[in-house]
């Protein structure tokens, strides 16, 4: 079991992780969601012992990472696919990892085959594309057949086929009863690949739940087209709705249900041409939740990778 226990990590004046406290369940894919710079990678680095926590700790089955006798057989991690010696071959890279943790060398060829890089296993990894490096990194994570797997932004650099492959792969790993912890700054990705989501912003825990739970609590908007949008907007504002005019005859209304919007239009004698309640997407929920925590404060700007 992977447990984050009141973890705080400070780099000089920067508070990268601020009292994070959660458990990651086994048997499901857990998404670790937050904008860039929110502390996802730092948390992962602390889990695998690369960075020392300022306070608190991360434990694997009750032990910190550096207490594990054969860490690669308990935790497989892919944090940075390019963190390899570019002049060593893929197979030799994995053989060195296998030797250090007493993993049978025949396992190297198995995982190379599994991720589909067996044909270039003898080539230097410096020449690998990001996608190939990601696959090699996944092979490295699987090498020790670990019960816990960590992936930091794994879909970066993968082609659509690779992305679909990796989603199915996460599901399979979870079905086998493993703990699968995947970070991403892309909601759309998490919405389709994760069962459980943990949202953080500025190093702090924001919320957790399934995709359905997160979107259910969020207030959706109502899309309405009418013959007199100007008048309807006035009426809806009087009813405490927040109205945003769209193109031509359409309005986007929040704070009111579609029933309330329909009734208000009827009372105002405005003919409604179209009335659609719009469920909040995970994307909307995420933007709302993390609006205060975007690192550079450009709240309405796109979160770019």
């Amino acid at each position: 079991m992977l447990k984050i226990d009141h973890l705080t990590k400070r780099y000089g004046a920067t508070l990268a992780v601020n009292d994070l406290d959660f458990e990651v369940q086994s048997g499901v894919v857990t998404g670790f969601l937050g904008p860039n710079g929110s502390g996802k990678s730092t948390t992962m680095r602390v889990i695998i012992g690369l960075d020392r926590p300022t306070s608190g700790r991360a434990t694997i089955n009750g032990q910190t990472y550096d207490q594990l006798k054969a860490p690669l057989r308990e935790v497989g991690a892919l944090l940075d696919a390019k963190a390899l010696d570019p002049t060593r071959s893929a197979r030799n890279h994995l053989r060195a990892l296998a030797l250090s943790n007493r993993i049978a060398l025949k396992r190297v060829d198995e995982v190379l085959e599994f991720v589909g890089v067996a044909s270039v296993a003898h080539k230097k990894v410096g020449g690998f594309s990001l996608g190939m490096s990601q696959r090699l990194g996944i092979a490295g994570a699987l090498l020790g057949d670990p019960g816990i797997l960590l992936f930091d932004e794994p879909v970066n650099g993968l082609d659509p086929e690779g992305i679909r492959w990796i989603r199915d792969f996460f599901r399979t790993l979870a079905k086998e009863g493993r703990t699968v912890f995947v970070s991403s700054h892309l909601m759309s990705e998490m919405a389709v690949s994760a069962d459980q989501i943990i949202v953080i912003g500025r190093g702090k825990f924001i919320t957790t739940g399934t995709v359905d739970q997160l979107t259910a609590n969020a207030v959706g908007t109502v899309f309405v087209r009418s013959t007199d949008p100007t008048h309807l907007a006035e009426v809806l504002r009087q009813a405490n709705g927040v109205v945003e005019p769209l193109n031509d005859d359409a309005l986007s209304v929040s704070g009111l249900t579609s029933d309330q919007v329909g009734a208000a239009a009827f009372a105002a004698q405005v003919a409604v041409l179209e009335l659609t309640p719009q469920r909040a997407s995970l994307e909307d929920v995420f933007m709302t939740l993390t609006a205060d925590s975007l690192e550079y404060g450009h709240k309405n700007a796109e979160v770019t990778p």
Binding site: R45, I48, G49, L50, D51, R52, Y65, D66, L68, K69, A70, P71, L72, A77, L79, D80, K82, A83, L84, D85, P86, T87, R88, S89, N92, R95, A96, L97, L99, S100, N101, R102, G140
Partner: protein, 262 residues
């Protein structure tokens, strides 16, 4: 076979890493060229110019020390190769993959030091013996005085030339652990070996005598010289001081690695 990985497993892993990059072999080749090549060159030059030497110069001729001149060039290769065994991992980021596999950082330092010691002790002894033998062959062919490995003094000089180079490899590695960047590590290493002796040269002679004998290059010279000099420590004391330096730098390096975030 126990299932728990040991220091031996980490060492096997690091040895595999050492021998699976071409740079290691290019480095070792440089090492051979510098020591054996320079021994060959110097012995040929000395032999060719022998007739023009003064009587005093002929008397001062030392067939052992001259055959080991290449060691003073090879010492730079030693340090750089030792340093690169860790700094190249920082340059590529591979250090993070390494530490994820071996989170006990003192283990990692020990394993890497064992690999470097084993490889470079053998390589250093091979090249110093080869350099010595090549030079003596040429001196003998030209009817000059020669050294012999059957005399304990000459044997000791050649063996300790190799010990000197091995220590420098480990010192380079320790500096690499401390400084992490190849270029900075090499700068510091060259400063200690080459620049500081030059600076000390400008100090008063009385003062120099107390300081220079502690410098790595002078310790090395004492270790591989058949004669005793009043301005340096004995070969044995020199070897002990150099060993202390080596251990000190390695300990400092492993403390730094253990304390810092990777």
């Amino acid at each position: 076979m126990s299932d728990t990985p040991s220091l031996m497993d980490t060492t096997r892993s690091e040895f595999l890493k050492f021998r699976t990059v071409r740079a290691s072999f290019i480095g070792l080749a440089t090492f051979v060229v510098l020591t054996v090549g320079i021994a060959l060159l110097i012995s040929l030059v000395i032999s060719a110019n022998w007739s023009q030497r003064s009587a005093i110069d002929k008397l001062a001729f030392d067939p052992v020390t001259t055959s080991l001149t290449g060691v003073f060039f090879a010492q730079f290769a030693s340090g750089v190769l030792g340093a690169r065994f860790i700094t190249s991992e920082y340059a590529s980021g591979a250090i993070r993959t390494t530490l994820a596999a071996v989170p006990r950082r003192v283990h990692l330092v020990l394993a890497k030091a064992i690999v470097l010691f084993a490889v470079f002790f053998v390589a250093s002894e091979v090249v110093t013996f080869a350099g010595f033998s090549v030079a003596q062959m040429i001196y003998r062919a030209n009817h000059l005085t020669t050294g012999s490995l059957s005399t304990s003094v000459d044997l000791r000089a050649v063996v300790f030339a190799g010990v000197f180079l091995t220590c420098l490899t480990l010192i380079g590695f320790g500096l690499g652990l401390l400084l992490r960047t190849t270029s900075i590590t090499i700068s510091v290493y060259v400063t200690v070996l080459l620049i500081i002796p030059i600076i000390i040269n400008f100090f008063p002679t009385s003062w120099q005598d107390h300081v220079t004998k502690y410098l790595p290059a002078n310790l090395g010279a004492a270790m591989m010289s058949p004669q005793l000099s009043t301005r340096s420590f004995s070969w044995g004391t020199s070897a002990i001081i150099l060993a202390i330096y080596t251990v000190a730098v390695l300990v400092a390096g492993s403390v730094a690695l253990s304390r810092r975030d990777a």
